[in-house]
């Protein structure tokens, strides 16, 4: 990615998201404001980053044309990020505003789960748009094969020894803790691997750039979800845990890909 293509706007907005996450990390590490400060920094910081990502994604979709094959994937990914941001805002309201523990399963989970099908549809539709240029069968087979292997790994490494057998866990919590990693695998990682397989055939061509960032974002979000499921199952999760950064960072990367897509479509003055 050359500086001549990536605009100052992209560097500034992505940098602001990263700076926010670094600030959260500093607040949490130094325990600024005690326990409440840690929880507030973690919850509010993540909400701000994900909401910023949703706004940027919506704006990119609008500029690229929401009714076109170019803008539609971004509209779907933006809707998913917005849903996640609403879930985060509710989580922060309960935990910081009301001073209560967030129920699990709870209302935020409904919004978190809604992100999966929206992102999956967005990413898959982006990959399918390349069908006139690239044969899609091989990346599709590769993605599904990876999904099967990952599902087996999640069952052996997480579901069987922890989620499905942990004592004193409600059926709803057990179901949700199983659903998150499986949804991550099939609705986040598999579509991302598919689109990465598609754009890898572009050999570094500019049209591939945005979707490489999507892949990174999807993997980070999936890793956080799987980590959260494990921690929640053993009642070890606390706001400010390392898994929290994956959600913010993953959405920041999805925002980055939308910014790059805009840069490609609407050249701006180059960065210094």
């Amino acid at each position: 990615m050359t500086p001549a293509i990536i605009s100052r706007r992209t560097i500034t907005v992505f940098g602001a998201a990263l700076a926010t996450l670094v600030l959260v990390f500093v607040f949490v590490t130094l325990r600024v404001g005690g326990d409440l400060g840690v929880v507030a920094a973690s919850d509010i910081g993540e909400t701000v980053v994900v909401a910023l990502a949703a706004l940027v994604l919506f704006d990119s979709a609008r500029r690229l044309g929401v009714g076109t094959s170019l803008g539609r994937p971004w509209l779907l990914v933006a809707s998913g990020a917005a849903s996640f941001a609403v879930g985060d805002a509710i989580w922060a309201f309960i935990e910081v505003g009301m001073g209560q523990e967030v129920p699990y399963p709870g209302l935020p989970d409904a919004f978190y789960l809604l992100e999966y099908p929206l992102v999956a549809m967005g990413v898959l539709s982006a990959g399918l748009a390349f069908r006139g240029l690239i044969p899609l069968k091989r990346p599709a087979v590769l993605a599904v094969a990876l999904g099967v292997v990952a599902t087996a790994g999640i069952y052996v490494g997480l579901l069987a020894p922890a989620v499905l057998t942990a004592p004193d866990v409600s059926a709803g919590e057990r179901l949700l803790s199983a659903l998150y990693p499986l949804a991550d695998t099939w609705l986040m990682v598999v579509p991302a691997v598919f689109v990465l397989g598609v754009v890898s055939m572009l050999g570094g061509g500019r049209l591939a750039w945005p979707w490489i960032a999507v892949g990174v974002g999807a993997v980070l979000i999936a890793a956080s979800d799987i980590g959260y499921s494990w921690l929640a199952t053993y009642d070890l999760y606390e706001s400010g845990a390392i898994v929290d950064y994956g959600w913010g960072l993953g959405h920041a990367f999805m925002m980055l890909c939308a910014l790059i897509a805009r840069d490609l479509a609407d050249p701006q003055p180059p960065a210094a």
Partner: protein
């Protein structure tokens, strides 16, 4: 430089070498030619084909940029 090389040069920054060459070969076949038999008279068909292939994945400004690069390469590239 031949016409097929000029087309590949114009497309390569966006879709990479392999896909660019595939586009050129596919267009040549649709015209009943081989890639190295393409000449200036095939340019309108080549441009149309490029627009059609890139339209689902690239913004209009990107497609125009590729077409302008192609025309510029052909004008200044001393075609053989």
């Amino acid at each position: 430089m031949q016409v097929y090389e000029a087309v590949s040069t114009a497309l390569e920054p966006y879709v990479g070498v392999i896909v660019a060459n595939t586009c050129v070969r596919a267009t040549a076949i649709s015209l009943g030619k081989t890639a190295d038999a393409l000449d200036r008279s095939d340019l309108p068909e080549l441009e149309s084909r490029i627009r059609g292939l890139l339209a689902p994945v690239a913004a209009p400004a990107v497609i125009e940029d590729a077409i302008i690069t192609l025309r510029r390469t052909i004008e200044t590239g001393a075609l053989t």
